[in-house]
Symmetry: C2
Subunit: 309 residues, 2 copies
Amino acid sequence: MSSAKTLDGKGAGEAIRELLRPRIAAFRVASGRSPGLGILLAGNDGGSQIYVRNKVHACEELGIVVDLRRLSEDSTVEQVTSVVNSLNRDESIDAILVQSPLPAGMGAEAEKEVFNVIDPGKDVDGFCAVNVGRLAQNRSTLAPATPSGIIELLDRSKIQIQGAHAVIIGRSDIVGKPMAMLMLHRHATVTICHSRTQDLAMVTSRADILISAVGHPGLVIPKFVKPGSTVIDVGTTRVTDRRQVSAIFGEESPRLEVLDRRGAVVVGDVHPGVASVAGAVTPVPGGVGPLTIAMLLSNTVKAAETRLT
Amino acid sequence: MSSAKTLDGKGAGEAIRELLRPRIAAFRVASGRSPGLGILLAGNDGGSQIYVRNKVHACEELGIVVDLRRLSEDSTVEQVTSVVNSLNRDESIDAILVQSPLPAGMGAEAEKEVFNVIDPGKDVDGFCAVNVGRLAQNRSTLAPATPSGIIELLDRSKIQIQGAHAVIIGRSDIVGKPMAMLMLHRHATVTICHSRTQDLAMVTSRADILISAVGHPGLVIPKFVKPGSTVIDVGTTRVTDRRQVSAIFGEESPRLEVLDRRGAVVVGDVHPGVASVAGAVTPVPGGVGPLTIAMLLSNTVKAAETRLT
């Protein structure tokens, strides 16, 4: 049934990391220190704990020094801002990451407020307004990690972007909108869909490259997909409901075993049936995730190199 | 033959200006002075001379004070920057506009460099990186005038944006990209096309709202257009070739008389034949142009009010 090629995000992520090793070594020679990443983690969000742990491990493995600052669930925007400012001033810190989401108690605007306090030269996620603007103007150096990683994966998989019709489901500041800008600058025709899109399946079925980033498990079913197209799955939803997992993957799926053992499985936006229609798909896990981490490392090194010059 | 409704940009522009009068009066009472717009015009571009003259007249008519600074064709980026800085510091100036294009001799990056020197609070065109980023994040106060004017025109014409498929031809920083963001935030599904788009007519023929901003006279012919849709023409190309005008408008067109009398006519991207297919169209001239000026005035007043608070 499955005919689509699986795009190997893990392998691509490893290849990107290997290319960073000599650059980090050269930076160390030139600066007398290792690149430094400041990470601010506020609150107890379970996903965030895991993501930050993975990021810290990946940095340490490459020789990037991490300064991890933790704040409690009930900390204030002022406290977060104050930590960001101290990282801005710290000469040994080249890049700063504020783990999203911030605790809900800080209010809906807290993230944008905090992102805008980060020194644009250290804004490793590219989320502050001036870097968002520079990305739109095609002058970015630090572009958001997930969409940058997707471009890397397409390039490494020799999937042509120029002239392709790229359809993006999701319009977030973190994935959807910067993805649209990166695709546009690579000369794709770009369509952005979202919850208010009428007849979503018809719109997405015209995509040569379809990117789903909404966190709706199994949303993208075969009729959403143009035969032979490339489907990129950015969704990573933690599912604990056995019925939902078996409805998507079938009663025989080994994922049910994983669910029984761990209490949850991570499920993408793309239904497994899509593999019989698409030309190429990214797996979840092992697709976009490893690339996001690799691009975070890459942006950290880039920020360090830029500060040196 | 013509069945489409003509959207009255001139009338909408006048209505917007009328709403500004009491706000300007209130600003004058509160501040003891009139709102001030600084305009920098460098070089001898013929179109720019006309645009700036129109902007100055529109301001004066409303009681906005204009400080027009002219620089010669051979002036440098440093000279332009220095004038912008003096306008930034001037307490009586609420808004600053650097007329595009800057002289070619300044280099391709000159405009972005200069735009980024403008105080973001006075950046009336919304072209500096931080305002571009704020627009993408849906936090903008000063959004670019042409796309803002198009939103105003659609709203005043009771054309629904939410759920519509908006297709934009052109990906400029001044129209295409900010138009995409404004449409997206109003819950349209958005497609951006450009010179590398494959089978342009097929992509555009799916649009409920089609916006062309490329400056290619008569590009949008009937087969580009979905029956009953709204077609917005941002093109304003000065055409001097009689054959080109008669090929687009026919041998009997009164435009040929205008051409003979004035030596040129302004022609939009949309072919007149589209009026027999579309539900609504904007004329050129008298469509988007008057709205662009009205939104410039509106942004100037908004910037002045914001500085007061």
